[in-house]
Symmetry: C2
């Protein structure tokens, strides 16, 4: 594989990770994983920021290909497009746990 292609691959992956790398967006993904679809208004309540802010977070997730949206009536419903988030989060969680262990070692 050419260096150029390789570079593009890293950039693409990074852009997806970046889309996930925010507490509010992680929470959004979490909520969406519990339900089939949720409207912006309900998500806004969950997050507790201005609706415009939530809308922008959602559009970042959408641009990254993590969620999709559908407008029905005046409302817009968001849905997860990806089903593997659980394994991703379990990996992230293992970093967290590993860190805790490390910290305990330091303290003991």
């Amino acid at each position: 594989m050419s260096t150029k292609t390789e570079q593009l691959r890293y950039e693409k992956r990074a852009s997806i990770l970046k889309a996930l790398a925010h507490p509010s967006r992680l929470k959004l993904v979490d909520k969406l994983s519990e339900a089939d679809e949720v409207c912006v208004c309900d998500l806004t309540e969950v997050i507790g920021s201005d609706m415009s802010t939530v809308s922008r977070h959602l559009s970042q997730l959408k641009n990254a290909g993590i969620v999709e949206s559908e407008k029905r009536g005046q409302m817009v419903f968001y849905r997860l497009r990806v089903k593997c988030l659980k394994s991703l989060f379990s990996c992230i969680e293992s970093v967290v746990k590993c860190d805790v262990n490390q910290n305990m070692k330091v303290l003991s």
Copy 2:
């Protein structure tokens, strides 16, 4: 779980994802996954940025608990602390692939 704790959990996860969310840092992780340990000087060649820049990328990965380092002589060697990166990347990759499919649909 309290809302406060929940919030902290999202923040912690986000910080780990943020540490990974950069092409150069992904490349560093990739290289480190191929070898047991690599010194900063070698990693600098791979990345092709200034060594100071690479050093800062590495310290971000270290702060996130993704890599660890050991100084031997004048050199500092970095190692992955986490073994599950492969499953994480396969998830990311499935987002990429899903995107490609979507794009093909749009084009056809």
